[in-house]
Symmetry: C2
Subunit: 343 residues, 2 copies
DNA sequence: CCACAGTGTTGCGACAGACGCAACACTGTC
DNA sequence: GACAGTGTTGCGTCTGTCGCAACACTGTGG
């Protein structure tokens, strides 16, 4: 077994290890060798070698025949394309995103929540890109990115408390990490209907993001525009933020959302807090055939609740909240922020 | 063990199964249940259930809490983004792709070879899209797609023979499946420097594709433009094809390729035939700092050749050529063509 | 309201597959 | 040519994976 015995998480150990290996490939290190992977995961080289051989046969990694080192393979792009194609919101929002990019002159993204991160699911590059900002699939922190903040601000109160109960990662000197300050920021976003992020997540990156709501007012995505800080000064940022909010409001209206006279906090969301369903759900829009008919209405409450529509907890899911012992090698934690945009 | 015993492929069985599960999720069936997956892979429901729990913990799939069925998860998009970001050619070609889409009015793609398929690694949508053509990550057949044909036409003779030695899949009544006819098509492409595909891969889809060469003349990618057949009639298609070829030639020139007075067939390629390396290699371009310095020059020859730079064959890779017995459940074969573009 | 058929989950014991060890083949450097 | 490092592979051990059986839950029809 591994040098540091891992308490059984309830999953299949070999598959867990394969997943952990794939997640080690970051933007800073697109190529890794067997020995380095073994060192990081504290497994034997022969174990890693066999894992890589299996992943390569499936197209998930490729080995450079000269150096013997491995890279992520394009079979991942194929599966990702399929995953992304499920999101009907991408098709619905594509035109608005193109228009927003043209109006603001900046790179624009559509993001949804996935666990405790925002993930870009569509992107329109700026007509004048200075650098490679974000990318589809990129994970952004909820507390300090323009795409993430609205998803957090309009989440359930208990969910926000849970997210803020763990130390908030600091990405730049401007990252807000104090939970009290974060609550004040959340109040601001709720009032303004748009979030700003000025060099909080990445140096010299400024962005504005606004919530996209479905017909019940549930925040299901965010629209954001981002660019270099030298181009997005205070005045320009407010102008861009107005565009972003207008785009998000327009999309929300198209999904059947009717804004009340006072802003409300999200209540009784579908499904599991923290995951956006790829299939849009609609009340009044259902009759238009725009979206697939949703399954039976969701109910508020915890993950996998019995009766009223939810499945009972699974031990493997319970393991998600497992607090690993000291020295434990993290296996599934998604990595954020170590991927800086390239100039 | 499974009802149909599988000869040991040399890989790790649990990981192979996990990969096979992920590949079952297609565009036609984005959501699958445990029982259905078990039926298709001829494994027990409990085996599949535990595999899915492990993949879900890693973010590779998501379970709909109401229906209990699974979908591909966004962690795949994150890994795919990292895989795609390695391809320097995307950055180099992005501007040309935008210009080509504007000039032709059609959706344009950049594709590379991955095993026996062409895979889109970048895309610019038509200003007037009629339908959702292709997508990044989509795998296209080498024998009947505009992106694939140039990759095949300029491959090594032995490689072409190998590809044409197995029955060519038929996607539409117009698909060329006769190897002799395919050789003639290959000769045409070599002379014209551009490939056409008129409803060969997908009904009512017409496309043109041209090879992008590196400084040594090696075909490392294709540029293609595609659109609905009602818009791309014969005259219009030739016009688009001219644009596509010009764009590909321009990109090739930018990579250091100098076209000889007579067309040549590719010789002595880098690395493994069938896989495009994400890192561009350059002779004269190296001094300009445009590309990362390549590793030591590659040598011609077979996969994993000893001495002159190649590693010895691995049993697991040898298993790629393994001919499965009757009744064998395919585990890694990439699927093509069952994914039709959505109107 | 109940019976039934279907779904996905879980405890458990058997054993087949995964693992680490040791040795090997290969490569780059001095 | 020696050496240090890489990744690969044969082999025996044992533990993690697997399938069975039972369970919990859901939707449907009477």
């Amino acid at each position: 077994m591994s040098a540091v015995p891992t308490p059984r998480s309830g999953g299949i150990q070999s598959v867990e290890r394969a997943v952990a290996v794939l997640k080690l490939f970051g933007e800073a290190e697109p190529e890794l060798g067997v020995t380095e992977l073994a060192r990081r995961l504290r497994l034997h080289k022969s174990t890693i070698s066999r894992l890589m051989a299996t992943l390569e046969a499936g197209g998930f990694v490729q080995q450079d025949p000269r150096s013997g080192r491995y890279r992520l393979g394009l079979q991942l792009a194929t599966l990702a394309g399929r995953a992304l194609n499920q999101y009907e919101l991408r098709d619905v929002a594509r035109g608005a995103l193109v228009t927003l990019a043209q109006a603001t002159g900046e790179t624009c993204n559509l993001a949804v929540r996935d666990g405790d991160a925002a993930v870009n699911i569509d992107q329109v590059l700026s007509p004048n890109p200075v650098k490679h900002l974000g990318w589809i699939g990129r994970r952004l922190p909820l507390h300090c990115s323009a795409a993430g903040k609205p998803l957090l601000a309009f989440a359930l109160h208990t969910d926000i408390e849970r997210v803020l109960s763990v130390p908030l990662a600091s990405y730049t000197p401007r990252t807000v990490t104090d939970p009290s300050a974060m609550w004040r920021e959340i109040q601001r976003i709720r009032v303004d209907g748009v979030a700003l992020a000025v060099e909080e997540f990445e140096p010299e990156l400024t962005a504005a993001g606004a919530p996209v709501r479905d017909y019940r007012g549930e925040v299901i995505a965010t629209v954001s525009a981002s660019g270099p800080s030298f181009r997005l000064n205070s005045d320009r940022l407010l102008e861009v933020a107005a565009h972003v909010r207008a785009t998000a409001d327009h999309l929300s209206a198209g999904l059947g959302y009717r804004a009340p006279t006072i802003p409300v906090i999200s209540v009784a969301p579908f499904g599991v807090p923290g995951h956006a369903s790829p299939v849009l759900r609609s009340g009044e829009l259902e009759t238009t055939g725009v979206n697939k008919a949703p399954k039976r209405p969701g109910t508020p409450g915890n993950d996998r609740q019995t009766l009223t529509g939810r499945r009972a907890p699974r031990d493997a899911r319970a393991s998600r909240a497992h607090v690993p012992p000291a020295g434990h090698i993290a296996r599934f934690e998604g990595d954020l922020g170590e991927e800086r945009s390239r100039w």
